[in-house]
């Protein structure tokens, strides 16, 4: 049995705040601004604080950070990795590796940090994520893989981040998928919870943007049926998502992001080239044939007749 002092020391009346460092690689700052949208920021900052953050008040500026390379509970890395990319005069190779080895947990925030993302396109040979380079687990932190949680997305949702921080603070185990993405966030597909799902099932396509009706999978390139992410469960900015605003999902949480020809559905003999996740082509065809033979009046007309 633990002596009483040990018990009180694990539950101090004023527990020490979780210390976090937010470091940026090659980035657009999109994840930084996504995070600032979290309405629970105040609650989050009651139990955690930033040693360094690019925009929020914090105890160390970049120069001091690079000089001290302090320990942290969580290192959040935003943006893509390139060994010779510099912050405050220090090569990323040294900066990231040192901070990472001194951190208890590491979060790859956004698709660039996760897989290389958009910026990898500029220099595919030298740019990668911190743990993964596209699908390959060959990033600079591969020796520390067990510490890394991947939060892919361009940007990652602020609530995905605050959820993971909270799980880490409470020392709970985070179940992860093959890319070390938390299953509670990425087991869903964007397709789950999309308001157009019924149109998908009955193979009613959306012949043009700007309508409430139809599914964007058949023509507009929606990647919802094979993109992992809870965009339609944990809504964006509390209120919406790409598909809810009629925009096809562009698959930004996947290592394949950004694909090409994002607003057309590639087809082979008028069958979508990419199948919904886990659906064999043959079964899909049989099902599609049957579904198409139904003519459901409700789904063929306007959802709301008079918009005025």
């Amino acid at each position: 049995m633990k002596p009483p002092s040990a018990i009180t020391s694990t539950m101090p009346s004023n527990p020490a705040k979780l210390k976090m460092i937010w470091l940026q690689g090659i980035t657009c700052n999109g994840n930084t601004h996504s995070f600032l949208n979290d309405p629970a920021l105040e609650t989050l900052l009651e139990s955690s604080e930033f040693i360094h953050h690019p925009l929020l008040p914090c105890s160390m500026n970049l120069r001091q950070l690079v000089k001290k390379l302090p320990k942290s509970d969580i290192l959040i890395f935003e943006g893509a990795y390139k060994a010779d990319f510099e912050r405050a005069g220090m090569r990323m190779e040294e900066l990231l590796n040192t901070l990472a080895s001194k951190a208890k947990h590491i979060i790859a925030m956004g698709s660039c940090a996760s897989f290389g993302g958009i910026f990898k396109e500029a220099d595919p040979e030298h740019i990668s994520g911190i743990l993964f380079d596209k699908e390959k687990e060959s990033g600079p932190l591969k020796e520390m893989r067990e510490k890394v949680i991947t939060l892919s997305g361009c940007p990652a949702h602020p609530k995905w981040l605050s959820f993971v921080i909270e799980m880490m603070r409470l020392e709970k185990t985070i179940a992860v998928d093959e890319f070390r993405r938390p299953k509670e966030l990425y087991a869903y597909l964007v397709h789950n919870g999309c308001l157009r799902n019924e149109y998908f099932e009955w193979k009613v396509d959306c012949d043009t943007f700007g309508t409430k009706e139809g599914c964007l999978f058949y023509d507009q390139g929606c990647q919802g049926p094979f993109t992992h992410g809870s965009c339609n469960k944990i809504l964006w900015n509390e209120v919406s998502s790409k598909t809810r605003s009629g925009t096809p999902c562009v698959g930004c949480t996947e290592p394949t992001f950004p694909k090409r020809e994002l607003f057309t559905t590639k087809t082979y003999m008028s069958i979508p080239a990419e199948m919904p996740l886990g659906v064999p082509k043959r079964s899909y065809l049989a099902l599609a044939g049957a579904a198409k033979s139904f003519h459901i009046k409700r789904l063929e007309g306007k959802l709301i007749d008079d918009n005025a």
Binding site: N29, T247, R260
Partner: protein, 431 residues
């Protein structure tokens, strides 16, 4: 003496190289941006519509402006290829709502995360996390997301309109958020009703204002910076309400007079990734102050008449813009006509070749996207961002806008603060 200051708490970082005299006054200042990502090259070779996904990733705080610039570029391309696209007034109004939402959230973050923070620090005040301001900016982004699906990084504007088909519910939600934001502006930022602010825009009244904007002006007064930071007095607006304004003249501005100059970049032995943007071969200031003068908003114009392009006028213009945009968004939201379509499909992009240009007033000023497209594929893409106008490096005789504003300031720390009045963005400047 030569000193280097690392400028943080902007979008990315910059380095200022100062040459000072014995007493520490700034004699020369040059601006270095060191992080380059090659966005234009990433766009080349892709389907032209992919620009609607890639271009917003130029910048995390004004990505939506990049989306609008890209969609305008595409619509201009369609028109010049002889297949003009129609956009209904409703679709246009929705784009305007989300575009100006981005301006408002940007200006609030600039006031709280950058200006109050940095000027407070110079006066020995420990800044707090500006939670209420961040909450207000998240509400503005929510307002935008009601139509655009998400902020940051939406792709809801397409040639021909917008992808959403909102109903009155979204509009009601947006109007409620807008009222909340307005209350925040009145209570926290101004400390008075917006009408009172707009009616009393003389320096004495401004300095007495109770809100955080008044605090910022008082900080500047205590730092003796309020009437410093003068630049060339040349202004440019290229997007909405295009004007060029010089001390003696005011006329319509035309994009044909815009050029880029890379003489200060690494490519030519310089020390930055940023290219200069020039109009008629000269530096022009772009952004909220230019817009206030070009639309002749009375309060700021009067301040400008009296104090010129000083820190006082520049700061006030950005805050006044937030106030004037609240009214504009309300007008847009209440006059939407839902019987109009959101989207009128254009012909396939694969049948389109030619050149397109899209211009938009982004938070920091005029943003330009140009592209050459062959059969729907991007052959070349070129972006000129607002900060390239304001933060370019000139020569000793003809310094850039922010460079000039820093000359003669009594210390490099204070000059750095003047630099920040331009709302610096490193990611946009280099892209």
């Amino acid at each position: 003496m030569i000193t280097h200051e690392l400028i943080e708490r902007i979008e990315g970082e910059a380095v200022l190289d100062f040459k000072t005299d014995k007493s520490g006054h700034v004699q020369e200042a040059s601006i270095r941006f060191l992080h380059f990502r090659g966005m234009e090259a990433i766009l080349e070779g892709r389907n032209a519509l992919d620009a609607l996904v890639i271009a917003p990733r130029v910048c995390g705080i004004c990505g939506h402006s990049h989306l609008i610039a890209a969609v305008r570029m595409l619509e201009n391309l369609y028109a010049s290829a002889g297949s003009a696209v129609k956009v209904t007034p409703k679709a246009h109004a929705l784009r305007e709502v989300t575009r100006v939402c981005e301006l408002m959230q940007n200006h609030i973050k600039w006031l709280y995360l950058v200006m109050l923070h940095e000027s407070g620090k110079l006066l020995g005040k420990e800044p707090q996390v500006a939670l209420r301001a961040l909450y207000a900016s998240s509400q503005i982004n929510q307002m935008s997301a009601l139509f655009s699906g998400q902020w940051p990084h939406s792709s809801y504007a397409h040639p021909g309109g917008v992808t959403c088909d909102p109903t009155h519910i979204e509009v009601m939600q947006a109007l409620k958020l807008l009222s909340d934001v307005e209350r925040f502006i009145e209570k926290d930022v101004l400390g008075c009703k917006t009408e009172n602010f707009e009616a009393n825009m003389d320096v004495e009244s401004l300095l007495l204002m109770e809100g955080d904007f008044g605090t910022l002006l008082r900080y500047f007064e205590r730092l003796d910076l309020l009437d410093l930071g003068k630049s060339h007095g040349r202004f440019l607006v290229l997007g909405e309400d295009a004007h060029e304004i010089t001390p003696n003249e005011r006329s319509y501005a035309h994009i044909d007079f815009v050029s880029e100059d890379d003489s200060q970049t690494f490519a030519h032995g310089g020390k930055t990734y940023a290219k200069n943007a020039l109009y008629r071969g000269k530096f022009y200031e772009t952004g909220p102050l230019a817009r206030a003068i070009s639309t002749e908003r009375s309060g700021v114009s009067a301040l400008y008449q009296q104090y010129g392009d000083t820190a006082l006028t520049r700061i006030t213009a950005r805050i006044d813009e937030v106030v004037s945009l609240i009214a504009y968004v309300r007008l847009l939201l209440t006059s939407l006509d839902f019987t109009e379509s959101s989207f009128i499909p254009p012909v396939s992009i694969e049948s389109i070749s030619g050149k397109g240009v899209g211009v938009v007033e982004a938070p920091r000023g005029s943003l330009i996207h140009r592209a050459t497209v062959e059969k729907g594929k991007i052959a070349s893409y070129s972006i000129i961002t607002p900060t390239q106008w304001n933060l370019g490096n000139g020569t000793y005789d003809s310094p850039g806008i922010a460079q000039k504003a820093m000359l003669g300031i009594e210390s490099t720390a204070k000059a750095s603060l003047i630099f920040r009045t331009f709302d610096v963005c490193s990611v946009c400047t280099t892209h």
